[in-house]
């Protein structure tokens, strides 16, 4: 050990304490992608069926709807809010699109316009969640739960006891026709991730959603009106759910009230597994997309290696909890240090 003068030693202390400024991606974010690779590798080693190209295509196709829902929910989670409205909004838009394109219930044949209207319906319902949040000051947990019920109600009214079967070529084709081996719906999901990433990175809406999750008071003290951005985020999320509802209708060939059942919690789980934590201000679209893949690979892989279907739900739940715990532990330690 060399002798240093007190002044030098002091400088070293100051230097050592100073954390290196972090820009963009850091090692801390590497957990979920590494987990994805590891899980993928394990299943590939265990099951010859899993490592085929067609199965990889299956995995990606199976992830499409969840990816779109998760794109929407990610922005809400980034703000530190929560969104349980996906099932209701998806149900409403699924029935709406089924009744607007060529179907067995009425003479409508609006084609793409019908899809757009269904997405706008989703955006409108999402907007209601946001407005209830900022004007009535009802926590997002409750407003979105309520809007989900409203969405299911609207869907049930439109459903009216007779299932609308879709005969529109374009809509049916989205799920069936393939480009480069992947269904068109899967490409739509990729596009959603890209759009989401651009919004998150380059739009004021995305950056402010991130900032609201980080420190909402600071925005107010900086003269920013937060409420419009919150409403906009819920509206955008609603549009994503609306699109997801359309995608489910395309896959089923019929409009179902229950089109979005379970997607709220699956999407939240996928986002959190990917590193978009519920406390807000963390993660992002790419994190969430990795989370979706992780969850989907897990589901597919358990089938491929022959785990009994009776076991799958429970095993998957355990793995999700373990993944979240792994994602959160470094977080907690860090907070304790900064205190």
């Amino acid at each position: 050990m060399t002798v240093t003068s007190p002044a030098d030693a002091d400088l070293e202390v100051v230097h050592a304490r100073r954390p290196r400024p972090r820009r963009g991606v850091s090692l801390r974010d590497a957990g979920p992608p590494v987990a994805l690779v590891v899980v993928f590798g394990v299943f590939a080693a265990l099951s010859p069926g899993f490592r085929t190209l067609s199965n990889v295509q299956n995995v990606l196709d199976a992830a499409a709807v969840l990816t779109v829902v998760t794109c929407g929910i990610t922005f809400v989670l980034m703000m530190g809010s929560i969104d349980l409205s996906a099932p209701g909004i998806m149900g409403a838009s699924a029935i709406a699109v089924a009744l607007l394109v060529a179907n067995n219930r009425n003479d409508n044949d609006f084609g793409l316009l019908g899809v757009v209207v269904a997405v706008l319906l989703g955006a409108g319902l999402g907007c209601l969640s946001g407005l209830a949040l900022v004007t009535l000051k009802v926590p997002s947990f409750m407003t979105t739960l309520g809007i989900s019920a409203v969405g299911l109600g609207v869907a049930t009214l439109m459903f009216a006891g007779v299932q609308p079967n879709v005969s529109d070529r374009m809509l049916e084709g989205l799920a069936v026709e393939r480009f480069l081996g992947l269904a068109h719906l899967t490409w739509i999901a990729f596009a959603c991730v890209l759009v989401g990433w651009l919004v998150q990175r380059y739009s004021r809406l995305g950056r402010y959603a991130f900032a609201i999750g980080g420190a909402e008071e600071v925005l107010a003290l900086s003269g920013v009106r937060v409420a419009p951005y919150k409403v906009a985020v819920f509206t955008m999320a609603g549009a994503f759910y609306g699109l997801a509802g359309v995608m489910v209708t395309s896959q089923l060939g019929a409009g179902l009230v229950q089109a979005g059942k379970g997607y709220d919690f699956s999407a939240i789980a996928a986002a959190v597994v990917g590193g978009t934590l519920l406390i807000g201000g963390r993660g992002g679209i790419l994190h969430s997309a990795v989370g979706v893949l992780l969850v989907t690979v897990l589901t597919n892989g358990l089938v491929q290696i022959g785990v009994s279907p009776y076991w799958q739900g429970g095993v998957q739940g355990l793995i999700v909890v373990a993944a979240v715990a792994a994602a959160v532990i470094p977080q907690r330690r860090r907070n304790q240090v900064t205190k």
Partner: protein, 520 residues
């Protein structure tokens, strides 16, 4: 917004007008007169210190100056022009900006985004970010204060000192809105900084004076006198006078702040009353080692207050927490009254009669929305329970007794503790260890942090009383003066080791300089 930025108003008033003037400002809150006719003048290119106890009206005044509080009466003049400040944006348009006490940056955004937040100007077009422009705008601001921070670094990866520079760079954005020299308000800017960082900040403040007026607020009067040109004193919502900093002494300012002849060293005197008899040590620590400290030896007698002093990184906070079982240790023996003390967790320490007053009162010391009574009986549940059942009558009697004994000013025992003043909160936190009557050792981590002069002296008196009743105490003081005044003996820690011990009996106290020599 862009057009506003480029069209700068022409100055219309004579250069001799003060940068900012406050006349007879009044603000009532229910039951309280926060401001009772405050007058204040901020001149051009000066650093004005603002001193006053907690509750003197400082924060209300500052908030009024940046449009966060609407005064009930009185006028605010900016450069000879009467203004009405309805929002923080209004204030910015008049060239007034504030660096808030709680650091007010969004931690997960880049420094650049924080600097331009809310006034991105050309950095955002039609809601779309232009990162290069944004970066350039931020760089211009950082250049103004000569800072070398990477504008694209995430804010939570910066040191507190760097974050403060980002805040100053951010507040200087108001220069874009007006052609006049800005008025920058710094509210308690030093509270999160180390002494070395404080020096850097002061250099920065002196630089700001070249082109701006600065209002500097701090609890630390030595700092105020060090960096300011003039100090204005508030008391009870009124201006009670101002002094040129060069001629004033801390004691004089104190007198103006508390309105009587309270002095810095009033807590020295009480020590004289203490009985002084030979005792065997109550706490014996030998070779205690942990993550940030090594081979620490420490003796504390019953009724003795031992101060531990050291610079940041000396490990003294960790030693304190380790003795309470809140920080892991790797080696060492701790004996309390002849029995080995179990350091495996805080429960064991509590059971052994060790109490701990954490530095972060609001987050670690108390449960804000819970009542005074529940906070006081939080740890020693047995004191209010029979078996698992809470006995409200038992609790009430006990708590009321302590409220009276410690003269805790609270409407009643059911009041949420967060509604009390800092000093009274701290008394409740202390009482938590006293209610069971079994406390033998108190570990005090900055027990007077954030308290005003009056509340401090009450805490000092209380600690001294407890010591006289035989409680042993380890004190990490807020300042060297406090450590010297309160302690009977002072242990100096440096680089994780207890290097020196200095006796500090009443009448023969070491000077701060004596200690500083040992600390470096």
């Amino acid at each position: 917004m862009t057009t506003n930025l480029s069209r700068r108003p022409e100055p219309r008033v004579p250069a001799s007008a003060p940068a900012l003037e406050v006349r007879g400002l009044v603000k009532h809150y229910p039951g309280v007169k926060a401001l009772d006719g405050v007058d204040l003048v901020v001149r051009r290119n000066e650093v004005l210190g603002l001193a006053g106890e907690n509750g003197a009206g400082k924060s209300t005044l500052l908030k009024a100056l940046v449009g966060l509080v609407r005064p009930d009466a009185g006028e605010i003049w900016v450069r000879g022009e009467k203004v009405r400040l309805g929002s923080i944006t209004d204030a910015a348009n008049h060239g007034i900006g504030m660096v808030f006490q709680e650091q007010s940056l969004v931690p997960n955004l880049t420094a650049a985004e924080n600097i331009v937040l809310g006034s991105e100007g050309p950095g955002v077009r039609h809601g779309i970010y232009r990162w290069n422009t944004l970066r350039r705008l931020a760089q211009e601001q950082l250049d103004k204060i000569g800072s070398h921070i990477d504008p694209l670094a995430r804010t939570d990866s910066l040191t507190f000192a760097d974050r403060q520079m980002v805040e100053i760079a951010k507040v200087l954005r108001i220069e874009e809105r007006t052609s006049h020299p800005p008025v920058i308000i710094l509210d308690e800017p030093t509270s999160v900084l180390e002494s070395k960082e404080i020096e850097t900040l002061f250099t920065q403040v002196r630089r700001l004076r070249e082109f701006a007026s600065v209002v500097f607020v701090s609890h630390r009067l030595d700092e105020v006198l060090d960096v300011c040109d003039r100090v204005a004193v508030l008391r009870g919502g009124r201006s009670v006078g101002e002094v040129p900093a060069a001629e004033a002494a801390p004691a004089e300012l104190h007198r103006m702040m508390i309105g009587s002849t309270g002095s810095d060293d009033h807590y020295h005197g009480a020590a004289a009353e203490r009985r002084d008899e030979p005792r065997r040590p109550r706490l014996v620590v030998r070779g205690l080692s942990g993550r940030s400290f090594r081979d620490v030896d420490l003796d504390v007698h019953a009724g003795e207050i031992v101060g531990i002093v050291g610079v940041h990184g000396s490990g003294r906070e960790d030693v304190c927490r380790a003795l309470f079982g809140a920080e892991p240790t790797t080696a060492g023996d701790v004996v309390l009254d002849g029995e080995k003390l179990d350091l495996s967790g805080t429960r064991a320490a509590c059971a052994a009669g060790v109490g701990y007053v954490p530095a972060e009162r609001k987050t670690e010391g108390m449960v804000g929305p819970m009542s005074v009574a529940d906070n006081m009986t939080l740890t020693k549940q047995k004191s209010r329970c029979t078996g698992p059942v809470v006995r409200p009558g038992k609790q009430a009697k006990l708590v009321d007794g302590w409220i009276e004994r410690l003269s805790i000013r609270t409407p009643d025992r059911g009041t949420a503790i967060q509604r009390l003043s800092g000093g009274n909160q701290q008394k409740v936190v202390l009482a938590r260890w006293l209610v069971a009557g079994d406390v033998r050792l108190l570990l005090l981590d900055h027990p007077t942090r954030g308290l005003d002069v009056g509340a401090r002296s009450e805490v000092y008196r209380l600690l001294r009383e407890l010591a006289n009743q035989g409680v042993a105490m380890v004190l990490l003081a807020d300042s060297l003066e406090e450590a010297i005044g309160m302690s009977d003996r002072i242990v100096v820690m440096s680089d994780g080791r207890a290097t020196t011990e200095v006796a500090a009996p009443t009448g023969d106290k070491p000077t701060p300089l004596d200690l500083v020599k040992e600390m470096v």
